[in-house]
Symmetry: C2
């Protein structure tokens, strides 16, 4: 195994990632983190396991960036700005310095793009699967929860739905559409787009399932107009069934949010309404409910 | 596999652990966390892997409590009080509901004892080893770093050194001393004991190694009086070599800290001095340096 011990590892590959608020923090037992004045601190965490949540032989820089971006997406859903993150690595023997170098380079690129710094973490050896955890911190003037949706409000999405789930198929070789594969590896956290929403979440389990989470937390129901849901040209080209699959496919990381009509002037795209009652109903062009066989992908 | 999906799992076993600040947080993409007025937020994280950091067939309630307490020990070393924690679980197939119930019961017991609440986390399946991560939050009026030690100050420990490393041997069956085995499973985070210190860290890598971390961060050296280092009666009874082994054995979770002489009136125990220079020297009763073959246990 061409790999250094924990302290050397931290120093060589990870210490350069502690760029701003983290200065000196990697040397202490705990890191200090303070939100900017007048803002609330929010925190989210995601774990990913080799060959469960990503392909172990994937490019380490893309594995790193996808892990960080999935966490940042949760911050964006709370209308927060990124501040810093913790990194926990459980590394099997096959991980070598070249892999770590690529992984750190991916994190460095996205730290630059999204303006945040590594502030701490823990690195351990494992006899099992590569296991990666990021815990991301953000700050929000007014955090948006899942529980604020009210009947009469509109349902919006922040962009085309389905790129993530079809992107995974592209990565797995089902078809050759490089832009979809890139959308899988590099989801775009939608910072700024949930501000002013009454409720929001990111589409990690599928639009229908994630809107369902908002409905349960808010004590309301929702109606989605199937043909109002935006698809990218690449997904639309995959045929008629792709539209319905896009509604229940996960890994998207666009946001679904609710807001009064006045938000309709924003760049967010209206796809339905909040109604009294419970559950999510999808209507076709004729206004008939579309039977759904799967309420969303469960990755546990 | 007798195990429920992620949402059921969270609801059934973990939601009851979100007792105070966490109320409702487990339902959102991110958790909100605010330190009490006038205090700074500190955060620490530790990952533990089955059969690397704990025995997989150990009691799940003790595995849970040890994981939480090792994190709390880092907060104590920063002179912080516990506020809340995130839990990331990567669960292999053999984990069943009974294991999860025991694990949650252990966390509940220590939440009660130390006054904190679960505020979020992530649960995933793994084809590999059981991997547990806790990220603990605390608040401190004046966080104590590793970098504040000055020549002339005393070095203190908060209690007997070596119970942790000999406790691990007891757990592994090397000898039958139940109190040491209990000290391994249930280290005591030393809250309140680092207040007023100029530098502090917990003894997870061994007294000599961890004091070495303080010395490097502070740009100083240190001298330890071998015979001033307190041992528990059980460790002292293990013979002459036990004293030296106790100085380099890890997993202790007492604190080592530095402070002016005035702190000598506290319940902390003086074991040495900070000096100009670098590195840690251990002196025997005659004042001669004791050669050390191992600067501390590395668990990577």
């Amino acid at each position: 195994m061409s790999r250094s011990g924990e302290f050397e590892l931290i120093h060589h590959f990870l210490a350069p990632l502690a760029t701003t608020v983290g200065a000196g923090n990697l040397k202490d037992d705990a890191a200090l983190i303070d939100p900017p004045a007048g803002r609330q601190l929010v925190v989210t965490t995601d774990s990913m396991v080799e060959n469960v949540h990503f392909l172990g032989d994937g490019p380490p820089s893309l594995i790193a960036r996808r892990l960080l971006r999935c966490n940042l997406s949760d911050l964006a859903a709370m209308a927060a700005q990124p501040e810093g993150y913790l990194l926990n690595l459980a590394l099997p023997e096959w991980i070598d310095d070249a892999w770590l170098e690529g992984f750190a380079a991916g994190l460095a690129a996205d730290q630059e793009e999204f303006g945040l710094s590594l502030i701490g973490g823990d690195t351990v050896a494992t006899p099992g699967a590569l296991t990666l955890t990021i815990t991301a911190f953000g700050s929000a003037a007014t955090p948006v929860r899942r529980s604020g949706a009210k009947p009469g409000e509109r349902v919006f999405v922040t962009g085309p739905v389905g790129d993530g789930c079809f992107g995974l198929k592209a990565v797995r070789g089902a078809f050759d559409v490089p832009r979809l594969a890139e959308r899988y590896w590099l989801p775009s956290p939608r910072f700024g787009r949930a501000e002013g929403a009454t409720a929001a979440t990111d589409i990690s389990d599928g639009l229908v399932a994630d809107l369902g989470h908002i409905c349960r937390a808010s004590g309301v129901g929702a109606v989605i107009d199937l043909h109002a849901v935006p698809l990218s040209p690449e997904v639309a080209a995959l045929g008629k069934d792709a539209r319905l699959e896009a509604l229940t496919g996960g890994d998207d990381y666009e946001l679904v949010l609710t807001a009064p009509d006045s938000m309709a002037n924003s760049t967010n795209i209206p796809v339905g309404r909040i109604v009294p009652g419970e559950g999510v109903t999808v209507l076709d062009a004729a206004g008939h409910p579309v039977p759904l066989t799967r309420q969303g992908y469960r990755h546990d």
